[in-house]
Subunit: 222 residues, 2 copies
């Protein structure tokens, strides 16, 4: 998902950028309508996050001209004003969604995902593995609808396996993902976490197989 943020407040923009980056979604950022125009014409984005209150040309003008030119890119409008008509005109001008400041970054991310999904026709951001469902948004796992009580490490490990189904992960691969460079630990720590994770996955269809001397491989049992 390639996104462009059009926002003149540096601090807010940077916070959003960091948040989205941590979520695994790089985000480009420009601080004026003029720069936005050229970015949009030069590159292809999946989504625009547009602050309405910009110096110079208003965000509305950008939105209006995009639509006038037949550009259907999903646009989420941010507005500091809480008046209803601001929102109304945003939607009437062709925005796909709006959010009033101050807002929750998680909500912004959720709405972006929703818009992107709507565009792609995708169903959800869950990872499905037989009777196991992993929700990437809330980092929670369910087996047959029952929530697993995963601890941090187990969760990280599970997520890693789910993102690498049917692929062998060496202990090095795993330790690089779970631990910082300067964190000291023995290889046994991973084995221990794995034991604990396997207990949690006892009656799920996700199997973590040991490949002796090489590493581990997660696959769905049918």
């Amino acid at each position: 998902m390639r996104m462009l943020l059009i926002e003149d407040s540096d601090s807010l923009a940077q916070s959003i950028q960091v948040y989205f980056h941590n979520e695994g979604h790089p985000l480009d950022w420009v601080n004026s309508v003029e720069k936005a125009r050229s970015s949009v014409s030069l590159e292809s984005f999946d989504l625009l996050i547009l602050d309405i209150n910009l110096p110079g040309a208003s965000g509305f003008q950008l939105l209006q001209s995009l639509r006038a030119n037949g550009n259907r890119i999903p646009v989420l409008v941010l507005t500091a004003r809480t008046e209803i008509d601001d929102r109304v005109s945003a939607l009437d001008f062709g925005a796909d969604d709006y959010l009033a400041k101050p807002f929750d970054f998680r909500e912004l991310a959720a709405r972006c995902r929703a818009l992107y999904r709507r565009e792609r026709g995708k169903a959800s951001n869950d990872i499905l593995c037989g009777n196991l469902v992993y929700d990437l948004a809330t980092h929670s796992a369910k087996v047959n609808g029952r929530l697993l009580e995963l601890r941090q490490r187990e969760r990280q490990l599970l997520e890693l396996f789910l993102k690498n189904l049917d692929r062998v992960l060496t202990k090095d691969d795993i330790s690089n993902r779970l631990y910082d460079f300067n964190e000291a630990y023995t290889p046994n720590a991973i084995e221990q976490t794995l034991t604990r994770l396997r207990k949690q996955l006892a009656n799920s269809s996700l199997i973590i197989k040991t490949i002796r001397g090489l590493g581990y491989l997660a696959h769905v049992d049918d």
Copy 2:
């Protein structure tokens, strides 16, 4: 969208009626509070447009009595006065929006659309969680019919959890919602508020579970 206009100026009312009719939204019109009362009780409207300055009983009285009887129909108030207290009292008396004369018909139409959309968007004003009832309109919570004496922060936190039942909220999610970007606080502030909220919820069926290292999850206990 079925609307009722309560307005004593014939010429203004007729202009509005024509405008809305051309927009494709038929609009009923009465010129007194008394007629409005009977219309509202006899038929079902999606929206009222209420002029405050009416002969006889004031528009405020109508508004007040509607709300006193638990009628939550969206009401947009028109006022010729521009004083702030007029607007304030309109909202305090339960109006959903107001507009000062003279106004642009397009703005009136946009605000009506917005109110209508907003209303359709929400199924109900109450969130039910076992023995806990939260009223989104008045922001009040009751457990077994007993009103909780929530403070501002506790209320915000509760509302956040209620809107995200069975979803994990990280402390970051929570702080983004409860605090402005530039407000300084320690993570402990959230823990403290949570402790206080949990005390209030002591014998309710809403449970706020701690997910160590990740955040919190609210769910209904059965």
